[in-house]
């Protein structure tokens, strides 16, 4: 079995893996570094850090454009990210959007 597996791995490479979407909340400081997180530790921390930095950057850009925002939400096909600005950073919520999961109230942004 091990012999066949080796041959197949050599020919076709490893099968692509499916990464689970992050679910939970993250608190970040003003630089976007993670302070606390309830997202599964199996989710890559580097990507989570990038989420924090991008969200903080979004709040910063809005302030620079004279339109400071208290809350932002990014709606993707299969993930909703909502973030609220705090005095020393931001709290970010990540909700995977599956067919079985109820959608958030669309009347509120």
């Amino acid at each position: 079995m091990g012999f066949i597996k080796n041959i197949f791995n050599r020919w076709f490479g490893h099968a692509p893996t499916v990464r689970e979407l992050p679910s939970g909340s993250v608190t970040v400081d003003l630089e976007g570094s993670i302070v606390t997180s309830t997202v599964s530790s199996s989710f890559p921390q580097s990507i989570l850090r990038q989420v924090g930095q991008d969200v903080v950057a979004l709040f910063r850009e809005a302030r620079a454009a004279q339109m400071p925002l208290a809350e932002v939400s990014l709606q993707f096909g299969s993930l909703l990210i909502t973030a609220r600005e705090l005095r020393g950073g931001a709290v970010i919520f990540l909700f995977p959007q599956t067919a079985l999961m109820p959608r958030p109230n669309e009347n509120r942004l």
């Binding site: 454009a65 925002l69 932002v72 067919a99 009347n107």
Partner: protein, 356 residues
């Protein structure tokens, strides 16, 4: 001999199934036999074993969802009439369902509110003979479709959807009697509608009591429209061009006011070309914010593999803003905090009508 058709209802909600069974069993004049299934697998088994005429399928279901089911059915049972039901008013669902070739898309809430119309549509689908008529129209312009309806001297209401924009045309015995789209009615609505290059359409039952606002024959209207489009395309006259641009700006402003938005900024995503803005003086700062928000969101979506970006929304005590991309431009729409309704949908509508 009168054929008793069979209808198959597919929904994972048992209460809804029994409610539908009762509604359809009592109200359909042809008294069809109603079968039910609560999973796609069960529905497929019934389709294999029974002579089903019409499938009414819910879109949101576990495991195999409605859209997957409709795709399977279209391939395996091409003769089967299909109706897609959805509890959610989402244009994307509607377009995807029609792209899969469903005969009718209906909202569950609308079905309860307007059950008479739903029953009429259903009866018309059941009664449509297998031998007469083709289904599925591709690569035909709206002009062709309207001409076909008029030439066949039919009476119908054509409901045309282009993204979030909806228009209706009333045809009575081969004559176009009324048109309505986005606040416009009659000839202006018809002229606007002809500028649409893509969309989906469906036939609704005729409304013979609709008051007439269009009196010109259809050929004259089409000719006028074609002429004006041709003139606009070939005209190099700066005065005419200015007047056209002015008309467009007035139209955009009226749309903005009608929807209740504060401002809109349209920014080319590739950085080439000038941004356009209405209702705001802070064009350069908002342009920068739109570009940055679009870049950040796209990058984030790619890293997270979270699917396409639908929109970015933000709010503070004074305003709500919504950024969405369409084609090669990103749009930022500002709304007052007390704006009601589904703002994402309203913004999408505003953005869709920007170039129409």
């Amino acid at each position: 001999m009168h054929t008793r058709y069979k209808i198959l209802l597919l929904d994972d909600d048992a209460d809804w199934l029994s409610l539908c069974c009762e509604l359809l069993g009592n109200s359909l004049p042809s008294k069809p036999e109603i079968l039910t299934a609560n999973t796609a697998r069960r529905a497929l088994t019934l389709l294999e074993t029974e002579q089903i005429r019409l499938l009414i399928c819910d879109l949101r279901m576990p495991r195999i969802d409605g859209l997957q089911m409709l795709a399977i059915v279209r391939r395996r049972f091409p003769e089967l009439r299909t109706i897609a039901l959805s509890g959610l008013e989402d244009e994307e669902f509607r377009s995807r369902a029609y792209a899969l070739g469903v005969d009718l898309f209906w909202l569950k809430g609308e079905m309860q509110r307007n059950s008479k119309l739903f029953v009429e549509c259903l009866e018309s689908l059941l009664g449509r003979d297998t031998g007469a008529g083709f289904r599925g129209i591709q690569s035909k312009s709206l002009m062709d479709i309207i001409q076909m309806e008029c030439l066949s001297r039919s009476s119908t209401v054509l409901r045309i959807t282009r993204g979030p924009l909806i228009a209706k045309l009333w045809v009575q015995e081969g004559e176009l009697i009324d048109a309505e789209t986005d606040g416009a009615r009659g000839e202006p609505a018809f002229q606007r509608l002809l500028a649409w290059r893509t969309g989906t359409f469906e036939n609704l039952p005729a409304e013979p009591n609709r008051s007439r606002t269009i009196f010109k024959p259809i050929n004259a209207l089409l000719l006028e429209s074609a002429q004006s489009m041709d003139e606009e395309a070939t005209s190099g006259d700066p005065e005419k061009l200015e007047s056209t641009n002015h008309r467009k700006t007035i139209w955009k402003l009226s749309q903005l006011t009608r929807e209740g938005a504060d401002f809109i900024v349209a920014v080319p995503t590739d950085g080439k070309g000038e941004p356009e803005a209405l209702g705001t003086q802070s064009v350069s700062s908002l342009t920068h914010l739109t570009q940055k928000a679009n870049e950040l969101a796209l990058r984030l979506g790619e890293r997270l593999e979270a699917g396409p970006l639908l929109h970015v929304a933000g709010q503070n005590v004074e305003r709500q803003v919504l950024m969405l991309a369409r084609g090669d431009r990103a749009f930022l729409v500002g709304w007052p905090t007390d704006a009601s309704g589904n703002l994402a949908e309203k913004s999408r509508k505003l953005v869709a009508s920007w170039d129409s």
